[in-house]
């Protein structure tokens, strides 16, 4: 084994994708190569660091069920549900664009404004993309 392939082999081994023979070769190489040990330790630290971003996931069945129920009664209405849903999707996208613009504006204002102790800290900071300070949002809008 050569050092060039060690990181790839180590990654596959960490993911349980390496054969026992290749794993044994990797271990033998690492025992005699401090540079590769260091490189693999850096990869391990990075993987552990990535766990800092936790995401729970969410429930979507209730809203899906509503859409299914609406679609099943679509023929009752004069306007096709698909047209309404398409309009809703467009409006949602526009809302997201507006939200992004507000965030960018907020960031720009925060960058221009001298820091003041009287304002809420998270309202003025440009790097909180999902700030929930409704008061400041209303002011900007």
């Amino acid at each position: 084994m050569i050092c060039k392939t060690t990181r790839g082999q180590w990654m596959a081994q960490r993911d349980g994708e390496l054969s026992p023979e290749a794993t044994a070769q990797l271990r033998a190489h690492l025992e005699g190569c401090p540079e590769c040990v260091k490189a693999c330790a850096a990869l391990e630290a990075t993987l552990q660091a990535a766990d800092a971003w936790a995401v729970d996931g969410s429930d979507v069945w209730a809203s899906i069920n509503q859409v299914i129920a609406l679609e099943s009664t679509e023929s009752v209405f004069s306007e096709p549900l698909s047209a309404v849903m398409a309009e809703l999707a467009v409006l949602r996208k526009e809302m997201r664009v507006l939200r992004t613009e507000v965030q960018m504006l907020r960031a720009e204002l925060a960058a221009r404004e001298p820091r003041s102790s009287t304002r809420s800290a998270d309202a003025r900071h440009p790097l909180l993309p999902y700030a929930t300070n409704s008061e400041s949002r209303l002011r900007l809008v």
Binding site: R7, L43, T46, L47, A50, W53, D59, I64
Partner: protein
Amino acid sequence: MIRAAQGDTQAFGRLVEKHQRRLTRFAERMLGGDRESAADAAQEAFLRLWRSREHYRPQGQIERLLLRIVRNICLDSARMRTPPESLNSLPETADSMEGPASDVQSRVFAETVRQAIFCLPEPQRVVFVLTHYEGLTYREVAAILQCPLGTVASRKLAAVEILRRRLHDWNE
């Protein structure tokens, strides 16, 4: 899914409840933490499956199919093309956050990781998210992405190398 394909909404509901968490998690990470868009993407994937239920043929795992649909929806999403905030200025956020110092550090670091992952090129990001966060095997990921196993392995390593460089200051 076979019962759902026959129009059984209760069976479809059970299918959704079984997979919704993984799909929304996957979408949220692909979309840089945008929870609302992630829920929309997962919902759209389930609805596409429901609307095409009459053409459903039981071959392969339904979850792989759903993950593939969500990935395609995320690719189409305008959010994918929105550049994330600069990584360079992130540490400053600690000054403006409230709470115990350790909590603030954790939140800033989680934000750093979120942005670093969102900065990954999409082919590397999808492999990293599916293998690292969702625990899928290379074979499963290869089946979802319809690419060779070796491609999955090389993209995973490339993703971790990019993340290592971006998170270097924090790892020191």
